[in-house]
Amino acid sequence: MEKKDTRSGFGAGLTELGRTNPNVVALCADLTGSLKMNDFENENPERFFQVGIAEANMIGIAAGMTIGGKIPFTGTFANFSTSRVYDQIRQSIAYSGKNVKICASHAGVTLGEDGATHQVLEDIGMMKMLPHMVVINPCDFNQTKAATIAIAEHEGPVYLRFGRPAVPNFTPADQNFVIGKALHLKKGTDLTIFATGHLVWESLEAAKTLSDLGISAEVINIHTIKPLDNKAIIDAVKQTKCVVTAEEHMLNGGLGDSIAQLLSRELPTPIEMVGVNDTFGESGTPMELLEKYGLDAKSIVSAAKKAVERK
């Protein structure tokens, strides 16, 4: 299996947009290389805006640039794309209804060695709480590229979350990315695993192990956390009657939290959640951190066993 980083998927999607959509502009806060925005910059120097290490200003400028029809894509690390500039996003983009795409790399613990100052695990929660904000967390290179291209066509604020490490690139290169549409990746009858981002692959790996243990796990990729594909989730859970959620994010405010809200209203079901439980990350390699913080396939297997026992 070829491995590629999702941030490069963003870079590739942005480069394509530069060639196809003259209204797309890109802004970056001194992380052009890390965000893989160099090709867009080189091909469209007049549409690329280096703002320096000033993320609040970047968000404000992006909001202003929509007036006159531009579609700004901002790029920096996920932490500096959200918690550092929450009020700027809230007032200038979300409340003002501006067509800005907030593109956030190095999300979660898999940023690795830089440690907890840079490993935001609260970003999905912060962003999904903003009215009308679309929140997307694709799972691999191909899907991140497709999502980047798709969000340019969506009128309104979007938060696009991706990461640093090279991970298996397992979804089709020619996929048509539909915002808000859950993707069934593997059929199963005993439980449904709803996963997002890097943990979609870990969930597929977990499903193989579960199969050896005689547990048939369905895997659904929830690349769009908001708007949530309520129908796909309810339909799946009606069949399997048992759920695991998996995300590289804090349990509070994440995907599991959204699915638990939905199911507690519509279809109360045993749920086990794989995510970070009220703690900060730390330095380490991405795989070491996924293991230590209980975010790998092994943790998903344990959660699945528990969930099935609770049926």
Binding site: A54, T66, G69, R90
Partner: protein
């Protein structure tokens, strides 16, 4: 030549609108609104090329951003009096289901508003963005913005000052309402600003001083001078000395009317000092 008599009539009416709006729901910010009345009237009735048939994209027209959104009463009054929406709507200010929210917003679709403001320090960045898009669109209109002096305590303002000069955003004219007061008292007591002119010059902006920010003719002349200086590689900032509460004697010379509303008796006094010229809403 601007028709000063006509503009003075508008000033008197806008001041009445401001104190009546704030009085009607016992909340709002009259002090800064009265201090910037001449400036907003200069922009909307004389200096700016703008279209009251509102379009968010503002192609081919000048744009204004109110960064210190709490002075919404003067903004709403000037927008209504210049024709963006009916003056009768001023009666809904700060009331339930109104488009005239406490602080300006695009959220309710009020004509003339292009960005929410109220949480301070964001408007200069927004104005830079609009100015950059005008350049990309080969639109030689000008982007104007207004900021409180206390607002400059927000760090984002200085990120924006640095960017606009460093990147030669020269189709931008920012104005600082330099009344030297903020909610908790005088700026010198809250957080001394030092030499503002020197600071802005050090950030490589063209700095104009307007010492008579409550004289409409002088404000127009300064804005015209700023327009002449724009387009030459540097952004322009006007440090506009104003009197908070200008035009209502008991509101002047103090910070106490930053965010307080007059009672019935005080309203009567304010109205007696500013005659009805265009018809109250």
């Amino acid at each position: 030549m601007p028709n000063i008599l006509k503009l003075n009539n508008i000033i008197s009416q806008v001041r009445r609108d401001i104190v009546r709006m704030v009085h009607a729901n016992s909340s709002g910010h009259p002090g800064g609104s009265l201090g910037c009345t001449e400036f907003l009237i200069a922009l909307y009735f004389n200096v700016m090329n703008h279209n009251t048939n509102f379009s968010m994209d503002a192609k081919g027209e000048d744009v204004f951003f109110l960064s210190n959104g709490h002075i919404s009463p003067v903004f709403y009054s000037v927008l209504a009096r210049s024709g963006y929406f009916d003056v009768s709507e001023l009666a809904t200010f700060r009331k339930l289901n109104s488009r005239l929210q406490g602080h300006p917003t695009t959220h309710e679709g009020l004509e003339g508003i292009r960005m929410a403001s109220g949480s301070l320090g964001q408007g200069l960045s927004n104005a830079i963005g609009a100015a950059l898009t005008k350049k990309l669109n080969k639109d030689d209109s000008i982007v104007y913005s207004l900021h409180g002096d206390g607002e400059l305590q927000e760090g984002q303002c200085w990120e924006a000052f640095m960017y606009a000069a460093g990147k030669k955003v020269d189709n931008l004219i920012a104005t600082i309402d330099y009344n030297k007061k903020q909610i908790d008292g005088s700026i010198n007591d809250v957080l001394p600003m030092g030499n503002l002119t020197a600071k802005l010059e050090a950030f490589d902006w063209i700095v104009l001083e307007e010492y008579q920010g409550n004289d409409i003719e002088s404000v127009i002349n300064t804005l015209e001078r700023a327009k002449e200086l724009s387009g030459h590689g540097k952004p322009v900032v006007i440090i506009m000395h104003t009197e908070m509460g200008n035009g209502v004697d008991y509101m002047m010379g103090t910070h106490k009317w930053h965010g307080s509303a007059p009672n019935d008796e005080q309203l009567a006094s304010a109205l007696s000092q500013n005659h009805e010229t265009l018809g109250d809403y």
